[in-house]
């Protein structure tokens, strides 16, 4: 599909290496809804009250997943995703199927409550 005229919306994916974390690692709850752009025109929305658990790390930061909502990075194609944080700032998304990282257009400091129980 590369070069297809209909692929008008795309994201830049950077191959990365994922190191899984041990269970029961750091976790937090998102205190306010957030909308994060990746340059595709389709922002990813994170819901208030969602609980996130660390799944692992990549060189770009810590990777967190949630069971409370579906997280995708959307362009002409759609990719299931996890969020990547560095110092409580969301810097992008990890795509587990593609083993790659997509940077946020603007990193966002997340309003989170650390150590919240699910």
């Amino acid at each position: 599909m590369s070069g297809c005229a209909f692929d008008v919306s795309y994201v830049t994916r950077v191959p990365t290496t994922f190191e899984p974390a041990a269970p029961n690692g750091p976790n937090w709850v998102l205190q306010q809804p957030q909308s994060i752009g990746v340059g595709s025109g389709f922002p990813t929305r994170l819901r208030q009250g969602t609980h996130w658990q660390r799944a692992g790390t990549i060189p770009q930061g810590d990777v967190f997943r949630t069971g409370d909502q579906i997280v995708t990075v959307e362009a002409s194609n759609t990719f299931e995703a996890m969020v990547v944080l560095r110092d409580n700032t969301l810097v992008g998304f990890y795509l587990p199927v593609e083993h790659s990282f997509v940077a946020a257009t603007e990193p966002v400091k997340l309003p989170i409550q650390q150590g919240a129980q699910p």
């Binding site: 209909f6 995708t72 299931e80």
Partner: protein, 151 residues
């Protein structure tokens, strides 16, 4: 006095029946509905997850492309139809193609159930059909009236 809206008023009955048959022939109208089947389905085999694929609207009914899982055809995007498949836990890509290919990548855990809706958008010559991952609660409402078209 109430007046009913009859958009086909004046149309010869035979022509009306023909148009109706043509319209409905593009949709799944037989086979059990998801609502009927849901409680009767056995769980996926140990180590597998389940993916439901459905198309809940009749928009663009004439466009019914194949649905592929990791580039292997697994069914067709039939309006008001659904099918499902059990697969080992792992990474998958679901794709559809008309004049353009659209794909969705997703992970599947053991015992996990995922719902993928096939949507349609305007295209240049034909509609663009695309897969999207849907939250369980929304999907179960959305898919309830869809008919099983294969598995």
């Amino acid at each position: 006095m109430t007046r009913s809206i009859r958009p086909f008023r004046g149309l010869p009955p035979l022509l009306f029946a023909l148009l109706a048959a043509l319209f409905l022939s593009g949709c799944a109208t037989s086979g059990a509905t998801y609502a009927d089947l849901q409680a009767k389905l056995p769980p996926p085999p140990p180590g597998d997850g389940r993916i439901f694929i459905y198309r809940s609207t009749v928009a663009g009914a004439a466009v019914q492309p194949s649905v592929k899982l990791n580039d292997a055809v697994i069914g067709s995007a039939v309006p008001r139809g659904f099918f499902y498949l059990d697969r080992p836990a792992g990474d998958y890509t679901i794709s559809t193609e008309t004049e353009v290919k659209r794909s969705l990548s997703l992970t599947l855990a053991p015992g996990q159930v995922r719902y993928v809706r096939i949507g349609i958008a305007f295209g240049f010559f034909v509609g663009h059909v695309y897969p999207e991952l849907v939250e369980d609660a929304e999907a179960q409402s959305d898919i309830a009236g869809c008919h099983l078209t294969g598995s």
